[in-house]
Amino acid sequence: MNRKFILLGEQFLVITGLQIVALNYLKSAVVPSFFLIWLLILVWEENIEISLFMAFLTGIIYDVSSKGIYGITSIIFLIIVYINCFLKVQDSTGRIAGIFIFSIMYFLMTLFKYPEGFLWNTRTIIRYSLLFAFYNSVAGFFIDTGMRRLRSKWKMRRQYLLI
């Protein structure tokens, strides 16, 4: 149990660092959401309760560091994580496809305002949501691979300790 929490803590710190650096230093029209990618991978690995908590926490961190309205991203993350509680995506291809789809969903949700609707033009929304989803999918590939490697390292460390 402790090992799992240490692993999650390590991941949380790395992802938070990456997200803050990306938000502050990446001079791009769209910034990948490392938090979203991590939460999706976390929930697909059946850490459901933890990922719901983390959705809330990372959402608040994201809003604070991006000068957003506090809590908005938490709500979006929570909805996406909750939907993914019922999906089991194990293979890498499926995960990248999942990240792509839910990134688009996240992007659309951030641009929606009731009762005005979407705040950018349809063409612009499509273009930038696809770009955002592409960035996230690429980042997702590396994060997923990194997490798999980290897990195998922990396995080796555990075996070594047992010897």
């Binding site: 938000l23 791009s28 029209a29 769209v30 910034v31 459901i48 309760e49 719901l52 908590f53 959705a55 809330f56 959402g59 608040i60 991006s66 000068k67 957003g68 309205i69 506090y70 809590g71 908005i72 938490s74 709500i75 929570l78 909750y82 509680c85 951030t110 641009l111 305002k113 005005e116 979407f118 705040l119 950018w120 033009n121 063409r123 612009t124 930038y128």
Partner: protein, 224 residues
Amino acid sequence: MLWRFRREVIFIVCIAISVVIVRHHYVRKVDGIENIRKEESQIINYEELIAENIRLKEILDIKKDISSLKKTVIGQVVSIKPYVFPVEIVINKGREDGIKENMTVLSKDMFLIGRVVSVDRDSASVMTIFNKKSKISVVIGSTRDIGILEGGNIPFLFVRYIPYDSYVQIGDNVLTSGYSDFYPKGIKVGEITKIERSSDTLFLKIYVKPFSCISDIEEVVIGE
């Protein structure tokens, strides 16, 4: 029983807390207590205070040159939505500071950001030029052609209804025309970066790069 529905319970509790936070932060965007805390924390951070002081001095210097604005208030940006090419920003000045709907909002360099669309007691929402609802009457600096600057497209804005035979050139400045009820005349908006000519239309399609890079603004000038 509760354990069986633990994920639903966690989900609902977290959503409820998030909604409370959103309401607290959005409805009472800038609370008096929050301001005091902010000021206290800023006093401790001297470097930030010095930087802010320099920025405000710059604003005051530039303000002297703007004669079209009768009354100005300096405000700070509290929140930006979305983070890139924002369509809506919230500032920490409201009704109590003399802010009214449709007042013009400028960057510290006196470039157009947008206009106030709703005012609370101590905060106001600003619709930026990137919002798809934003339509501004503008004039091309060199030719004095009048067109409509439309938001909703990023990173460039479009100026429409400039005649096909106009002599506009890349690099020309775009300014507010003063014909709109909201924006005074002569505020710099952006610079022309691309001109598309199509034989099947009477008008040019002009791409404008806005001068105000809204993502990194901290202080704004609100005027009328």
